[in-house]
Symmetry: C2
Subunit: 355 residues, 2 copies
């Protein structure tokens, strides 16, 4: 079987974990699910299926030093820099070209850097099945059995079983309304799109050729570069004009050689402070307390992340309280999406140094 | 008329304003109502009725340096040290002896150091009326027209009008139940006991003689001391054995030459974070925000005191959030009494350095 080349996508820069996450330290570098940053968990999780020299990380220039610091086993040359953030299609193309040049039969495993997996052995079983399908030429996604009518994820409508593993894909479905999400979750015919993809480098480059031809031309030219300066200049050229499109929307929704491997490995995208309930154990009062500087009296169903200072709460329920070195945030638990509005307000107040 | 000697009582050490107040910096030294500490407001408020050399401050030894620092106009010799906190009777006795030795006709005006007065001119009018009554030999209290059925204050049942100012006192009433407080507040026959008292030094010493004879003997001996060491030794002796009794309970409730001056001068005892609504103006959403490092999004009826760090809230209602250098506290507004339980919990956790 062909060799597996995991490509960890670490270009994300969200605001949903502010004030823990900052533009200089986005979510993937935070120890949100365990005592290790999510990207380190991701690296270790795939480590038994690939040697460090086969693993790539794609990230922005400013974050490359952090990647080097937290992933000391990773050869520095395996960090691919996106000159500008242009969503996942361009990032994956960059990784695919690199792998194709080294090993035309190589299988690319696209791994978001900021997810949590509670059961890594089951996860690796799914990766093995998906790699086998990728080896047959499929563009493969890991699909997660829905546990709730989530409106924040894309869904995959599953088709007939394939001979050995996995299922055919009838359709990629964009984030649904709550009503549709309920139908999807109950039907048994839909899986969550985990954002984890496996395909031959050659197969995804072929799919780029079909579905994102402009971008594909750029990558063809990149394959032909012979020197580091020529390579760097071509990467800049690609990203300057690349559409900011996801691999889902740009390729997977349009391709037909699709397969999905249904998985159930304690997956969480750790999408917000509210999601910490999926990856951390609550105490008897439903409180999730992270850090050792918090004192709670008569509090219920709170998420409390203490920082360097003492954090005390009394008679508070259903709130998220997050302390950090220089900023503290309190938000109602059912309004965690308002973290975004806090960040906007902080920016409006001219306090950008806190972002 | 006799000379007025204000005695500001600054021996208090509560926990209701933690984490702003600490054992090293209790409430009276905090700028809770304006940009000046409450004790400075108190000093300035009486300043036009008495020269600094007539003003006394009674406080614990550890707080004397703060008093000197914030009240630079006060002669250092006018700070009277309580060797141990023994409630107001002993503190007032100390001030009364000092004044009596200097001016046997002097009138003592007992002023809590940690209250707020929104209308100082009306306050001084009441003090003038009360001083005139004290000059006639009465033990006088300023009484506040109740604006709500408060169960946290003592009440004064008022009797017939006196010839020129004020009213006779029928009874001092201890903190009532809510049911009784409602009756008192609506009756028009009860006033809040403000803890502000005026009497001749000689009159209160006479009252001590009648109602607290043991303590009185100590003060008689103190009057006879001739040297600083003898004075200090006798003060220590008095406080070691003094009952921890309030002037209200120890003297006023038992005395019969009582008068009360009803007042309405925007008084607040600033009894808790919840009471900041009495002394600060809320914004259009009912939020009271102190400090310039707070960002609120969709919050209502909160009290927010920001410290050195950025403090952000979204979708939070009816909470008190108080930041300080090294500790932050969040409590439901209708449970501000739970601050006490937080303080106990912090102590139990062995984090005494935060208290």
């Amino acid at each position: 079987m062909s060799v597996l080349y995991p490509a960890i996508l670490a270009g994300g820069s969200g605001t949903r974990f502010w004030p823990l996450s900052r533009s200089a330290l986005p979510k993937q570098f935070l120890p949100l699910a365990s005592d290790r940053p999510l990207i380190v968990e991701t690296f270790q999780r795939i480590r038994t299926l690939a040697r460090p020299k086969q693993i790539l990380v794609v990230c922005g220039k400013t974050h490359a030093p952090i990647v080097r610091r937290v992933l000391k086993q990773l050869p520095p040359g395996n960090i691919l820099i996106e000159p500008i953030a242009r969503n996942t299609a361009a990032a994956i193309g960059l990784a695919a070209v690199r792998i194709f040049k080294e090993d035309p039969d190589g299988i690319l495993a696209v791994l978001p850097s900021d997810h949590h997996v509670a059961e890594p052995e089951q996860f690796r079983d799914c990766i093995r099945q998906a790699a086998a399908l990728a080896d047959e030429g499929y563009l493969v996604t890991l699909g997660i059995q829905p546990s709730r009518p989530e409106t924040g994820f894309g869904y995959i409508r599953i088709g007939d079983p394939l001979p050995r593993h996995g299922r055919k894909v009838l359709a990629f479905v964009e984030k649904p309304t709550l009503e549709r999400a309920r139908i999807y979750a109950e039907s048994g015919e839909y899986l969550w799109n985990s954002g984890i993809f496996l395909f031959r480098a050659s197969a995804i480059l072929q799919a780029f050729h079909q579905h994102l031809p402009e971008l594909s031309k750029g990558f063809d030219a990149l394959r032909r570069t012979k020197t580091k300066p020529a390579y760097d200049a071509q990467v800049r050229r690609i990203f300057r004009s690349a559409p900011a499109v996801s691999i889902d929307y740009g390729v997977m929704e349009k391709a037909d050689n699709l397969a999905v491997v249904p998985g159930s490995f304690g997956w969480s995208d750790v999408g917000s402070f509210g999601a910490l309930g999926e990856v951390k154990t609550a105490d008897a009062h439903g409180n999730i307390v992270v850090g050792n500087r918090a004192v709670l009296v008569d509090c219920h169903n709170c998420v409390v992340i203490s920082g360097p200072r003492l954090l005390t709460l009394a008679a508070i329920s259903d709130c998220v309280v997050v302390d950090s070195k220089d900023a503290l945030m309190i938000v109602a638990k059912d309004k965690v999406q308002d973290v975004r509005r806090i960040v906007e307000a902080v920016r409006r107040h001219g306090l950008k140094n806190y972002l």
